[in-house]
């Protein structure tokens, strides 16, 4: 039983990263109507920045939250206005999707050029620090990650519910033209939600840098994992996306322990497809990937 609990706890810790990425995907999907496939690569990019500031300047990864996340937000704003603004106004969503694929490969190769193909990881003085409760062992770093994920979800939720722009983001995810009719600057609304999505990639980048080994190719897999998490949780639901990520982490860890490491991916994509086939709205979502007509 205690082994089971330990496996589930490890799953929660792993899955909270997927959760942060999934919240970002959900925000961007809401206004842009595309799966932002470059999300994982952006996370890896920010992880490299965190890595760099630790190696070059000795800045603690958690301290670099305060530099990397605002920087990521600014990158998001810039990226939206420079790359996605025109495409976002088009009826055909494929242009935006293809641009996202372009961004993914561009950034991937930028990372390759700057940091080489060697996998990186941080060796922090507190990397091995564990908290032991009733025989369960939890790494402080991973626990901090859960905290980061929950804090991100709460901040995004409050932004969407309590702020005017946040309300407009929710409205835009329902009906962009109706938002324009209110006299609201729809481009700005899209830019802000996109930038917050990329800002969350910055948060996830900090998480990734502290607990994973990563290389330039890791982002794509990670984006797909976030997509699975999003499908489980249901689009348009911040806490659902986080829960979907955590659930995916648990599924992966259970599969790894009880069935074998080789089955991890089979299990997670199997669940992904089952959910899409039978519960396209997601397990907790109101909106879901597909809207009922």
């Amino acid at each position: 039983m205690s082994v089971f609990t330990q496996v589930v706890i490890n799953g929660i810790l792993l899955g909270s990263m997927y959760g942060i990425a999934a919240i970002g995907l959900s925000l961007i999907f809401g206004t842009m109507r595309i799966i932002f496939i470059a999300q994982g690569t952006m996370i890896v990019f920010f992880a490299y920045l965190v890595y760099w500031s630790f190696v070059k300047a000795g800045i603690d990864p958690y301290l670099s939250l305060f530099t990397v996340v605002p920087f990521a937000f600014a990158v998001g704003l810039g990226m939206f206005y420079l790359i996605f603004r025109r495409a976002a106004a088009l009826e055909d969503r494929n242009v935006s999707l293809l641009l996202a694929v372009g961004v993914m490969y561009l950034v991937q190769n930028l990372i390759l050029k700057v940091w080489s193909a060697t996998p990186r990881g941080l060796d922090l003085s507190y990397s091995d620090a564990m908290i032991v409760v009733g025989g369960l062992r939890v790494s402080w770093l991973r626990l901090a990650l859960v905290g980061l994920a929950v804090a991100s979800a709460v901040v995004v939720y409050l932004f969407l519910k309590r702020t005017r722009v946040g309300t407009a983001v929710r409205a835009a995810s329902e009906d962009m033209e109706a938002v324009k009719i209110q006299g609201i600057n729809a481009v700005w609304v899209c830019a802000v939600s996109f930038a917050i999505g990329i800002g969350l990639a910055g948060v996830a980048g900090v998480g990734m840098a502290t607990v994973y080994n990563f290389d330039y190719q890791y982002g794509f897999t990670f984006a797909i994992k976030a997509l699975v998490a999003l499908a489980l949780g249901g689009i348009g639901n911040v806490y659902g996306a986080l829960a979907g990520g955590i659930l995916l982490g648990i599924i992966e860890n259970l599969a790894a322990y009880y069935v074998g490491q080789a089955w991890v991916e089979v299990a997670s994509y199997g669940v992904f497809m089952l959910v899409l086939i039978f519960l396209p709205q997601g397990l907790f979502g109101r909106g879901g990937l597909v809207k009922k007509v």
Partner: protein, 244 residues
């Protein structure tokens, strides 16, 4: 002679190569109700969208208080007081009634008058006050139309352009909604009404324009057009209220 609030001069609009409006001209006096009637596909919604700045014209002018709006986007037109209630209401269904109204008062000027506007909306539509924390999508059809109009009122409009207010409503509800539109007008808001329910529209308006396939065919006061044989034959059935 009252002030001309809105003046549309020889407006032409096209969707790509497909022409939707030809030389459309129309005038709306301040304080009046003007109806724009005609069958489906006549170009009424296109005209409203062009006045709103959602569509660009290929030629012609839209003047608001004499000022050419050509270089103003929707946001600035809303800020000047030109507000549209779109066809099919287009409410934010997953948002509450109050959130919908808040989004109507998004721009700084409208936001400054938020409390007054909200009071005005709730006195016009007391039902909305009762449902203010409920989801807009859960309102009945009539209530949704009230909310759509209320959302426009929140922008503190000078001119409200209402597209198909009666769509999908029962005759009784249609009469209620028209009564409220008239009340809104008596409070001082100018109204441009697009309607397929021609009989009703002609009865409440001061002036009306009949559109067909992208052209203005006829114009006159409501009574004149109601008495016009061509209009009766073409648009109003034997029982006097059928739409065609």
């Amino acid at each position: 002679m009252a002030n001309l609030l809105l003046e549309v001069k020889e407006l032409g609009v096209a969707y790509g190569d497909v022409r939707a409006l030809w030389d459309v001209s129309l005038e709306v006096e301040e304080g009046s109700i003007v109806a724009l009637v005609g069958t489906n596909g006549a170009g009424k919604t296109t005209l409203l969208k062009t006045i709103s700045g959602l569509l660009r014209s290929v030629h012609g002018q839209v003047l608001f208080e004499g000022e050419d709006l050509a270089n103003l986007d929707t946001k600035h037109r809303v800020d000047k007081g030109i507000v549209m209630v779109p066809e099919g209401r287009r409410l934010f269904q997953g948002l509450t009634v109050l959130e919908n109204l808040r989004l109507g008062a998004y721009l700084p000027k409208a936001r400054a008058g938020y409390d007054d506007s909200l009071e005005r909306v709730f006195s016009l539509f007391p039902l909305l006050k009762e449902r203010k924390n409920g989801k807009a999508g859960l309102l009945s059809g009539g209530e949704q139309q009230m909310l759509a109009i209320g959302r426009a009122v929140m922008a503190r409009p000078r001119l409200v352009m209402i597209d198909e207010a009666s769509l999908g409503l029962s005759p009784i509800l249609t009469r209620t909604i028209f009564g409220l539109i008239v009340e809104l007008n008596t409070q001082g808001t100018t109204v441009l009404l697009v309607e397929q329910n021609i009989h009703m529209a002609l009865k409440v308006c001061h002036r009306a324009y009949v559109m067909k396939t992208g052209h203005i065919m006829l114009s006159g006061t409501g009574e004149e057009l109601l008495a016009n044989d061509d209009v009766r034959k073409a648009y109003i059935g034997a029982r006097g209220s059928r739409l065609l």
